[in-house]
Amino acid sequence: MAELILTKRMLERPHDAHTLEGYEASGGYLALRQVLADMTPEQVHAEVKTSGLRGRGGAGFPAGVKWGFVPADSFPRYLVINGDEGEPGTFKDRMLMERDPHQLVEGVIISCFALQAEHAFIYCRGEMDLAYRHLCDAVAAAEAAGYLGRGILGSDFDCRITVHRAAGAYICGEETALLESLEGLRGWPRMRPPFPAVAGLYAKPTVVNNVETISNVPHIAARGGAWYASMGTEKSTGTRLFCLSGHVNRPGNYEIELGTTFRELFDRWGKGIRDGNELKAFVPGGASAPWFDASSVDLPLDMDVVQQHGSMLGSGAVMVMDHTTDIVRAAWRLVKFFAHESCGQCTPCREGTDWLEEIMERLLDGRGRPSDIGLLIDVSDNISPGLTWPPAQTTICPLGPSATAPIASTIRLFPGDYERLVAGNEDLEPAESTGPAGPERTVAVTIGTKPDREAVAHG
């Protein structure tokens, strides 16, 4: 019999779940007491491994495995919580931080214990004013109650949490950009290796986990990894928060066991498509995910299956579009998002996402040319070679390729919507164009010969 794990308390005590009193009154911090009294860090780590808990930030990497990458003898180490939730369609972490901050704080403390980290940071999206305040209050209350600080609950375990307020940059959700940002720098993703688990914050071993991921930890610690693993599917254990939005009658966050189908999500939880309309397309897992059309509605909410079908569950954001939707405009909106959020570090993303946005804008303005569709594909291909899934990239981080997902998938699924926009615009083609631009286009470039002048440039 499945149950609600993460949202139970907030549903039962909507008015005080976020306070220490409300939290303690509903069993809060018992898990921590139990861990400190009876368990070793290794045991906690083992339970998390057994639970099969996978990251909820998008990549779905097993948390227990990630923790295991921290080099054994390297201290200090840090735990950083990714609360930068900003991917269009996602609104679950905000709810967890606003409504049940102690659940996260307890998860952080237990995770720190398992990781033998004494300092954790919660990187909270800047625009989430209330979440930030509730987190600060929760940390202060936990400190006052002895759940944080030196010698927690009489043990020899020390831990403190710094709540860090971000300032408006989606890319800082990418874990290495987040670490740069936390160091007071521009949020530029780092090249890997080194991986954060080896050299992260201040070049020290650092585990970065999502808010939802860590909010599960008190429950796993209290009830055991096996209990958690008994829910969901074999490889996607436990429950997950799905953020359902768009053209459904009842949008919202739903905590669901993995394995449910999209159809059930839309119909049973979303109460159907609005106005009795037909489903046209949906984004199965956040703005970075290639879109599906109505034919994929019976796929299950299972990371691996969705992956096999060319998309992902990602951050759990499902955006539903009915048949009235202007698909090109909707795709453009996500491209615009990525162009706006590109950190600007690497060339293909800095230049390419903006270019893609401008081409699409032209299409929507009625100034699109027939060759633009091939151009969109080719420019996308220069950011994400082959437009494969999972995406390849010429970029440093996955943001650039993410911008190509809505384009490539909608051109594939809804070619007519694009063709209609450029029909009759043949006269806009540049006169000297040697034919439609496309992937087969070849350009003579003097690459590979060393320009003598480089010597000058390099001095």
Partner: protein, 202 residues
């Protein structure tokens, strides 16, 4: 150059913030938030003070500050109205909503009304897609905003103040999962789990 923003108690707070982190530079964003709260925007002089407090050059502070959209390098209105036009809001009418505001106040994106009361900006996903279309006023959420009511909402804030209006018309906490009691009681076990098709059709 004498400090003008970070003096007295604020200076103490700033120093305490710096001390919270293993490396002072980490306090850069928090200090810029303090500066913006104090001065209304991220001022040049303030950035110099922040630079001195965390031990970097003003150029580095500037490089960081300009990266983040929340930091305003110019003065803004008394209230900041941030309208989300990202996908979920867009497909539920956010463009119309924002157009109404701009038309009514005769301002363009990121402009301030002549009376200095409101600055309007279009923003990316505000993490309230379940309540789309949504907007934030001074980072407080208003969800399911209707185009016909948006001007009234903003004017209401002018009339009655943000606290009163938000308490009444805004979302005070993130919306709960919109489950009915019966649904909760029934548990959430899916009725039918997916089984892979017999042959590989991928």
């Amino acid at each position: 150059m004498a400090a003008e923003v970070f003096t007295g108690e604020l200076l103490e707070q700033a120093r305490a913030k710096v001390a919270e982190y293993p490396e002072p530079r980490s306090a850069l964003l928090p200090l810029l938030h303090m500066l913006q709260e104090q001065a209304g925007y991220v001022t040049t002089g303030g950035m110099r003070e922040v630079a001195a407090l965390v031990g970097v050059t003003p150029a580095e502070v500037y490089g960081t500050a300009t990266f983040y959209t929340m930091f305003k390098l110019e003065p803004i209105g008394r209230h900041l109205v941030s309208v989300c036009t990202s996908l979920s809001c867009q497909i539920l009418g956010a463009d119309e909503l924002y157009a109404r505001l701009r038309d009514h106040y005769g301002v363009a994106d990121r402009e301030t009304t002549a009376d200095g009361e409101f600055t309007f900006e279009e923003v990316e996903c505000a993490a309230a897609c379940g309540g789309a279309p949504c907007l934030q006023i001074d980072y407080r959420f208003f969800e399911f905003v209707k185009a016909d009511e948006v001007v009234d909402l903003v004017e209401d804030v002018r009339r009655r103040g943000l606290d009163a209006v938000h308490a009444e018309r805004g979302s005070v906490l993130a919306p709960l999962p919109p489950l009915e009691a019966a649904e909760i009681a029934a548990g959430i076990t899916p009725e039918h789990k997916w089984t892979p098709p017999a042959e590989d059709d991928a």
